[in-house]
Symmetry: C2
Subunit: 448 residues, 2 copies
């Protein structure tokens, strides 16, 4: 119909990178070429696949012509209408994309590290050249989240985004919760299953989630947010004990990427972007996100609560997101028009994570005698931190009981929303109370 | 940036309908005009609001100029760049939208009934005129589902969509599950809370869900699907007993809109589109969708499993979806280009719902004596229906025990995937067995 019935020459597509994602993109481009042509209104022709070593053995689908492999990435990007970058890393990805944009190609990238570090340079170059830049696959893999936030919610105001955007850490925390295993054992199991790298630092320390948080925050709040704006805390300090106590109090621990509108001490509006483990109530939709799945929960003024759930990584899911972007960019080549450009008109200040007001759960070991609870509650009241509940529960039934010294009781205090500074001062004051033996853990509660 | 920095006159926006959704759209258009102008690259000017009776009292936000109200809808649509239709019903909505399209306006509609009945006429008119038609709000309210299916998954193959797309029935079933109340009581409560109409037929008989199923199936399978193609069964026959037994076997009952790729007896590929209550395993993400929320679960070849969750109805959520569409259409006016058009290149046959192969749960009352289970299992085997489990449980603890006659036992049979015809023949054969007193219920199991 319409323009799609006109005679239209093929669009030339260049692929940079041929790993797990790249080989799947190549397979889909070639095996689904008829469907893609129908959706675009013109055939897509894969004109080259840039790799470091074209002679290295690699598992490519039979439909892919191996003679397309080339080590000349720089030459390839100047002879394409659309350049797909799935090589990862900062360089040479950045230089190649900039070269492609200058040569007038639309670009599609799955490179979260590059976008979080230097996205604005790419967005600006694309804007100047008048070409599309799409990156759905850079956040939460196959889950359409970039497009909904950029386009579906374009008439709404996002208040907060809570995302489980790292499948490795979600798998680790889910295993700890469902089996009671330790953090180290869960990481080892994730490594055995291929969910975690040999060096899991980027995942468990929250670097990967922080890059995605920066990208999501930029989109949702029309403000430039880069990796160094993201306050980051990983999950390495989470113990089996923390997980068991969370369950006992009706929560599950998740590593959350959070971007939210906040108001600073001076009344100025801004954005807080942070990644940290948090207690999520079992009744919250994010609590049910199991295994290596990802989900992004969005709170918007008019839309209310939305959640997007799916596979956040893997060759096929990521390739699906890349192909959706390729179809959009290709349709613009055929029909005219242009995708969303970087929208930074709001230019909100990035306020420190401590600006965010959240609920906390503080767990402490105290002498098992009357009056201690009242003494602790008194400290909270004096610091202006309001208590939602204080529990003095029996040990969670996960086999940890009996390890502790006798005569020790545990208190679990859940606060109402409190500022980080007030909470920290409160914890310091509680820690020096005579009957308090140890502040066992302090965790934020989100999504309540 | 780019074109958005050029001098650009305002885009004229006409609104048809000023009920719960329309008044909220008017409020957002006026109160968020600065943000919208930034996102579009040009101001949006609301030039008129067509209503049946302009003098009737209506709660409009103060930001909305009441002199915009007009009874001349036909005149209004010819002096707008973008026409928003939120009046509902088939006529005059259809005629007005066609007139707007002929006059060269882009149209945004939330009218699921119209799209399910005669969408192709509108899509064709828009295509001929070269204008955009957007309808995110017609399916699942605020949840971005139309855009992801049309655009994000454009490079993938959808295998199946399972949707909870009617908030009223989900509220009713959720109340029955959480409190044990009867269907009638739950409907009454939904009416009291404003979740259900005084005449709840369109919801509880599945008509509303069927309209959305037709729209979703069309998009996902690139095939024209209209309301009469949808096999439909409501929830009026679901009893408190059914709900209690579902819980006992690890399921929850949901009204599902299902569109899936199927293979007919002759080996031909086609699409099955149906709406019916089904047992959903408690471990499935759809099982956790509570209250009046909606969710759409998508299974695609490359993306794997995706779920989209949020508010499916209500003024603000629907208005959010409408505004997102308005921004997309407006950007095309400013920057050139065009949104997705109807894609029916696949033109798959719509196969009867009986083509779909699903699991079933059959519940029966039998004489409480040895050998009955074996006799029933023998019938299933003889009909080629494979058994996943036969349970002979105690009564669910919901207070229904003691009502039945003594000497009666209950069998709950869960089958592996079976064709509807084979299952029906099996049920007939079981019903006439001497020790079988009653086939209590036959429900499909989906999402396993």
């Amino acid at each position: 119909m319409g323009a799609s019935q006109q005679e239209q020459g093929p669009l030339r597509v260049a692929l940079l990178g041929c790993g797990v994602v790249g080989s799947e993109v190549a397979r889909l481009l070639t095996q689904q070429s008829a469907d893609l042509a129908s959706r675009v209104g013109a055939p897509l022709e894969l004109v080259g696949i840039a790799v470091r070593d074209a002679s290295a053995p690699r598992p490519l689908a039979e439909s892919v012509d191996r003679s397309l492999l080339t080590e000349d990435a720089e030459g390839l990007v100047t002879r394409a209408d659309i350049v797909i970058e799935v090589m990862g890393g900062i360089e040479p990805a950045r230089s190649l994309l900039l070269r492609a944009i200058e040569a007038g190609a639309a670009v599609v990238t799955a490179n979260k590290a590059l976008l979080a570090e230097d996205g604005p340079t790419l967005y600006k170059a694309a804007d100047t050249a008048g070409v599309d830049i799409y990156f759905e696959a850079a956040v939460a893999g196959a889950i359409p989240i970039v497009r909904p936030v950029r386009e579906s919610l374009a008439g709404d105001h996002v208040r907060r985004i809570l995302g489980i955007v790292n499948g490795t850490t979600n798998y680790v925390l889910d295993q700890m919760a469902s089996t009671g295993m330790s953090f180290d054992d869960a990481v080892k199991q994730a490594q055995d299953l291929g969910y975690a790298e040999a060096d899991p630092t980027a995942d468990v320390e929250g670097f990967d989630a922080a890059a995605k948080a920066a990208i999501l925050a930029s989109l949702a709040f029309h403000t430039r947010v880069s990796l160094e704006d993201v306050a980051r805390e990983g999950i390495t300090a989470i113990t089996a004990d923390d997980v068991a106590w969370a369950a006992q109090t009706g929560h599950v621990i998740k590593l959350l990427a959070i971007a939210e509108a906040v108001t600073g001490d001076d009344g100025a509006h801004g954005v807080s972007v942070r990644v940290h483990p948090a207690l999520v109530p079992l009744t919250h939709p994010l609590a049910g996100v199991r295994g290596a799945f990802n989900a992004v929960f969005v709170e918007a003024d008019a839309a209310g609560e939305l959640m997007f759930y799916g596979r956040g990584a893997g060759g096929s899911p990521t390739a699906s997101a890349v192909l959706g972007d390729v179809v959009s960019a290709a349709r613009h080549r055929v029909l005219g028009g242009k995708g969303p450009e970087e929208s930074i008109y709001a230019a909100l200040p990035i306020l420190p994570a401590s600006t965010a007001v959240t609920r906390y759960q503080v767990r402490l070991a105290v002498d098992d005698r009357p009056g201690v609870l009242a003494q602790v509650a008194q400290v909270l009241a004096s610091k202006g931190v309001s208590i939602e509940a204080v529990r003095q529960p029996s040990e969670p039934s996960d086999g940890t009981q009996g390890d502790g010294p006798t005569g020790v009781a545990h208190l679990v205090i859940t606060t109402h929303a409190a500022a980080e500074a007030a909470l920290a001062a409160t914890v310091d004051a509680i820690a020096v109370l005579e009957p308090v033996r140890e502040i066992t853990s302090v965790l934020r509660v989100e999504g309540a």
